[in-house]
Amino acid sequence: MMKFSCNSLPVRLSLVLCSALLVLFIIGVSWLGYIQFSNLTRYLNDQAMTYSESVAFDMNDVFVQGEQIGQLLATSMEITSHGIDDLPEYIHGIVTTMQRTCPALIGICIAYQNGILVKEEKYNAYWGFVKDSNWYRMVHLNTELYDYFYQDWYILPLTLQKPIWTLPYRPDIPGVPWDDLMFSYSIPFYQKDENNERQLAGVIAINVQVDALVKYLCERPFSDDVQLTKSSRIFLMNQFGHIVISPDNKSMEMNKSIFSLCDEPLKPDPRDREMARSIIHGEPTGKIALRKAPLLDTPCDLFYTTCSNRWIVGIAIPSHWIRGTLMPFFYEFLAGWFFLLCLIVFIIFMVCRRFSKPLVTLAGVTEEIGKGNFLVSIPPIKTDDEVGRLAVSMHKMQEELVDYVEQLKKTVAIKERAEAELQVAKRIQQSILPQKLPPFPGFEVISGSAVLIAAKGVGGDLYDTFVVDDDRLAIIIGDVSGKGVPAALFMAVTESLQRCVASSTVPVERIVQQLNELLCANNSSGMFVTYWFGLLDQRTGHLVYTNAGHNPPYLRRTDGRLEELNKQLGIPLGISDDYPYKSGETQLFPKDMIVLYTDGITEAFNVDKDIYGDSRLIHVLKNSRTKNAEDQLQEIEDSVFSFVAGAEQSDDFTLLVFQYSP
């Protein structure tokens, strides 16, 4: 049974993948939602726009027919003169025909100017109208009880001398059973007077019943697949923005205008008025947004289309309607995607769990191996994929690990033994070097001090002092090439041989030469040693020396002067068996000191890889105020160690100081 925690691989992998998937999901849903929302918004806007256009189209049918009938009638009235006898019948005939063609056109009124139809009669108008197809009424308006001279439908076209579409009105004629709202296409007509002059005779009004037009506004399906919200409003207004018909909104009564509606809130939004003006002065069709104008109870979008008579069909739809219509689609869309996301997350988790199970097992095995249990059993994983290869590799690794550990144990044992042997060799090498420096018996005038620190367990530096005869003391320092055991062995050989060849009767250069010949004779490994050999006469202070490629020692005079004992420099020993070494000599005065050293001093490095160098050594010697060899040695040693400051020692370090004090 696998245990799952927040840190388990399946959980973490699932979380990472799900997070990435969620981000992609959000981006995808937002993008797709935006595209869908935009498309649907455009679609719904188009639907609303098409709706207003089709309503305007139907309206145009009424308007065009009304205008055509009015114009024909005006022309006819000018050509044919009618009297009070035939005019009612004439109107009846036209109304009946007109009704059949366009049921919304319900009446005709022919109103004459004062005294035109009958002299001395101020009012003379005939109004024929129908209420339904079976009911016709003719009214003769010939009294001041209905003073049509002050009615808009009469006075406006007469004054303007051009036809107009009036706003809705009720005739309010005493005794006439008519209380419906209607509006008219009013056109002035002309007749010839007695002098055959064309005179303005009156006005013809083609009446349109408002209720009959309502069906054009309301009884049309909005769209095949989208239902228009009930809170939307459709209305008709004239070219000045005055509401003509608003079938389903009492707040938009006929005396109001789109502009007065904009003014209606206590704090109107001036942008509404500018939007409304854009309808009147702008494009014939379009859409505007009204924020506060109470066409509806909420901010709305107004889609409008201008009719043939410049009246405007408007449909006000709540601004939130499109959003409200689209939200169910959006929720379905979101829910679908969310379900898909959950499914994908579940699948990812199961897949991660399935694939990570062997890894978890192998992780446990690795943990056991890490604890040292190399023989823990690795479960068989028989797949060819990376996990299978990992299991095989772990098997192999387990076997190799066991072998390696066994090998390591052996190697460690060998190394420990070698270390122990090296310690023994070190002790042997140290025993070869002089344990004590002068005063030798009878050589009290020469005092000395020495130090040798090998870089490894054993080293290749060597030094020695021994008495050659009653007066002379041999002083030797050398440095075998290389480090470690080979150098130590070569150093031991050199130490052994030099005592054999050293003699009071043989010149210094000859001693060195003989030593060289002996070392060259059996030097199959090609090793060599730098070597300085000196003989100091305690009685005279005379020093004879030979230098075989070694760092030249310094002679520090009591007055502070420094001299290099470097005359007759030869090549290191062990290289060429017939090399003719030569000797140099100098005179020591009381309190003079000889300082001998190997390159472990001058080539000591600090942590910054700076080299100590000859210059620092010379500086120490020149500025030294020490009075004896031991202090001088200590001063140089302190200088070197303070310079290297803990850096790892790279070479053997040997320093000898002798003082001549007769």
């Binding site: 003073d147 002050y150 406006l156 706003l167 923005g241 502009f259 003014d263």
Partner: protein, 328 residues
């Protein structure tokens, strides 16, 4: 002096007794005062409606009924024919009628300023009244409504113009059947605004800019009516002014009253229009927030006489604006 005082007291007591007696005799036939407005129901008369609704006339002891004139009705003719007892009309028309021999008095001056104006399209470039020559001007048919404008034209020597009749709307102006229309700031100006005109698209001239003392609505009755019952006339004036005070105190209530009245008379009610009208009425009835006592100022009377070129000796201020003796 004492005799005079004594005599005066006797007269007063006698008058009081006569009044008591007459009230007993005619108590059941208390007079109904017919008050007719110059125009259709609207917030222009809101103070009178409020006075009616609040029973201010009844409380003052006068029974008032109101109705409204048609746009072509000559209200002073109706007054002369005693079809009505009191009318709301304008002073120039009243003075003209008096100059023609009629006996009319102003029993209360409601507005202290005038909202009368002439409005033209900006694109006609009419920058001053003198530029109005040669244009078609729309005026209301009633003489009393025309008279201030005719005086205005006379003042500026505008003679070359055509008058066309306008009615209860601004349609003739909208259809460009006229170039200039008469109007008032609280009505026609708003109607143009409600037809899509912005103020900067119109040139307009207040008659008050030419005639600073000109006023609009006042209460008028026949001199005979005044003489019959000056106290009642004064009560009508006071109740009317109180009605206006209350109308402005609570404008939303006032607009509700106007709306109810419009519906009662079958007239459309347009809230923003009526709100605009009520606000303008407040500015001309109580300029700077100060109500008058309902009496026309002498300066106003003089200017009206001057506008009409009437000699002050023909009509005296006290004759036009009579007051109960002993009262200022």
């Amino acid at each position: 002096m004492r005799k005079k005082l004594h005599g005066g007291r006797v007269v007063a007591i006698t008058t009081f007794l006569i009044l008591i007696f007459s009230s007993f005799v005619s108590g059941e036939e208390s007079k109904t005062w017919r008050l007719r407005m110059i125009w259709l129901p609207q917030a222009e008369f809101a103070g009178i409606y409020v006075a009616l609704v609040d029973g201010l006339y009844e409380k003052a002891g006068v029974h008032v009924v109101v109705d409204h004139a048609q746009p072509d009705e000559e209200l002073f003719d109706s007054l002369k024919k005693k079809k009505v007892d009191v009318i709301v009309d304008w002073p120039l028309a009243a003075l003209e009628h008096i100059a023609h021999g009629e006996k009319i008095v102003n029993i209360g001056q409601i507005t202290q300023r005038s909202a009368l104006m002439l409005i033209a399209r900006k694109n006609l470039n009419i920058q001053s009244p003198k530029d109005m020559n040669g244009y078609r001007i729309g005026l209301w048919p009633a003489i009393s409504l025309k008279s201030p404008y005719l005086a205005f034209f006379k003042h500026y020597n505008i003679t070359d113009y055509t008058v066309l009749p306008i009615l209860t709307n601004v349609d003739l102006f909208l259809y460009q059947g006229i170039d200039i229309t008469a109007g008032v700031y609280y009505d026609e100006f708003y109607r143009l605004r409600a037809s899509g005109f912005n103020e900067d698209e119109l040139s307009y001239f207040y008659l008050n800019d030419t005639f600073p003392e000109l006023v609009d609505d006042g209460l008028y009755c026949n001199e005979e009516t005044w003489l019959d019952d000056p106290v009642a006339c004064q009560k009508i004036r006071d109740a009317t002014m109180e009605g206006w005070r209350r109308a402005f105190e609570n404008k939303e209530r006032t607009l509700n009253i106007v709306e109810r009245l419009c519906k009662k008379h079958g007239k459309p009610f347009n809230l923003p229009h009526q709100r605009w009208m009520l606000n303008v009425m407040e500015k001309i009835i109580a300029p700077d927030g100060r109500f008058s006592d309902g009496l026309m100022r002498k300066e106003t009377f003089k200017q009206c006489m001057s506008i009409l070129d009437l000699d002050e000796n023909t009509i005296r201020y006290e004759q036009f604006i009579p007051q109960i003796k002993g009262k200022k």
